[in-house]
Structures are given as C-alpha cells and as structure tokens.
C-alpha cells in the first residue's frame, strides 16, 4: 500500500509488505523492492544492489526460522534523499535452524554463509544496522540518493 499517490517524491512515502518467512516468498519481496527502488534516481546497478541486499536480509530471516512459522515485515520509506528499508521478523533470538550439510561444508571451508550475506548487505547499501532482541531481528538498510 502506497500512502501517497504522488508521482514525484517530495516528501516521505511508505510502502508496507508482509510475507510469510519462507523461501518461496523471498522472491516476492525482491520483486516489490525492485519497483520501489526504481522510484529513486538510482542507476540500474544501484537498484539491483538494493534488491540483492533486501533479499539477503529476508534470507537471513528464512534461514533462522527453519520450519517454524514466522513473518517478515518490510517497511520501505522513500524520499528525495534516501530509500530506507526495514526488514523485521518475529523469530526469537537464539533460534537457529538445524545445521545443514551445506553449512557444515562451508564451515569446514572457512566460509560463513550468513557472513557472506552480511558482507553483501554492507557493501551493497550505504548504511546497515542489525538489531536482534528476544522478539525478533530488525534490519535497516539505507541507500542514499546520488548528489
């Protein structure tokens, strides 16, 4: 739902998206973010960067949820200066899905897959904050408009 129907972004507009915390819905979030980020004066590569960063934030939630029922809430705030995307889940801290064979292989190879996702987020957007509490994790991704 877009709060304001205006075509030019002179003030903040907010888009809310709530998806089940399951792998098949991460692509839905990415598709929505593609449309939202395209409203900013970003280059094609910058839009793709935002899309990948949001995908990583959602994937992080999906992997922590495992088979548990959970929800991802994505709130995108767009204005002339920046695009801020908040990705929140309701997975309690300390919930870790069963370590897969792939995760074991990666650990043996000295690679942390969640670390890869975090690294991608850090590089692809300008600001990243991750706050984990007893009720869930809140990731804020910010990409500033070019000067």
């Amino acid at each position: 739902m877009i709060d304001s129907p205006t075509e030019t972004v002179l003030h903040s507009e907010t888009v809310h998206l709530v998806i089940p915390c399951r792998p098949e819905y991460v692509g839905v979030a990415r598709l929505a973010i593609l449309g939202i980020a395209s409203r900013m004066p970003f280059s094609y590569d910058e839009v793709e960067d935002v899309r990948l960063a949001v995908g990583e934030a959602c994937t992080h939630a999906v992997e922590r949820a495992g088979a548990a029922a959970a929800t991802i809430r994505i709130v995108s705030t767009i204005n002339s200066h920046a695009l801020k995307i908040e990705v929140s889940d309701d997975i309690p801290a300390g919930s870790i899905a069963v370590l897969s064979e792939e995760s074991r292989l990666l650990k043996e190879a000295g690679v942390d897959q969640q670390g890869l996702g975090a690294l991608l987020m850090e590089i692809l957007v300008d600001d990243v904050t991750v706050d984990t509490t007893s009720t869930g994790t809140h990731v804020v991704l910010t990409k500033y408009a070019p000067d």
Partner: protein, 117 residues
Amino acid sequence: MNLTMNSRTPSETTCILDIAGEVDVYTSPQLKHDLVQMAERGVKQIIVNLSQVEYLDSTGLGVLIGGLKRMREAGGNLTLVGPGMRIQRIFEITGLNKIFEIYETEEEALAKEGGAE
C-alpha cells in the same frame, strides 16, 4: 522466480551444468541436488555455466562453495563459466573470485581443466 538446469557430458568424467534464472534460498536446493548427484556419479570435473543466471545470492554462493569443496575432496574440481557483469561483481565483492576458477568460455574451461579429451 525460477531456475532451470540442463547438463551435458562432453566426456565420461566431465559435466557441464547450464543454469538459467535465479539462484536464491528457494531454488538453490535444486542446484545442490544436481551437484551432489554429479559427484556421486563419479564426475570429476563440473563446469557450471552461469551465463544465463540473472540473480545469485549468498545461498547460491554457499551451494557453489559446498560443491567446490566436495569435488576437490574427491580429487576433482568445479569451475565456473561466463558470469554476466552483475554475477561477476558478486564474486568480486565477496572475494570468491579468488577461490573459484572462472572462465569466460566453456572452450577455455574445457581446455584448462583437461575435459576435452
């Protein structure tokens, strides 16, 4: 949001896996399944053609790293071919371009990896 895969066998021990579409947390288990099956069949050289891949995230990278480790442990190798600029950039910013052998063309990969006999 889909992933299609097709495999070719230019020699008994070499397999080329063509991937098209999006490799993410939803589709990467399919990729893992195919890579594990190839390793179990005794394939020594897997060449993954990424030229038609439009999206690759950390789970896709994880599956490829897992496949590489599995193949190297068995005395084989897994190499990559033809990633587009977006996909190439993901390998570069994660530093994984230093772990994988990435070739521009299949011919180059086959020649370097000795699978064209």
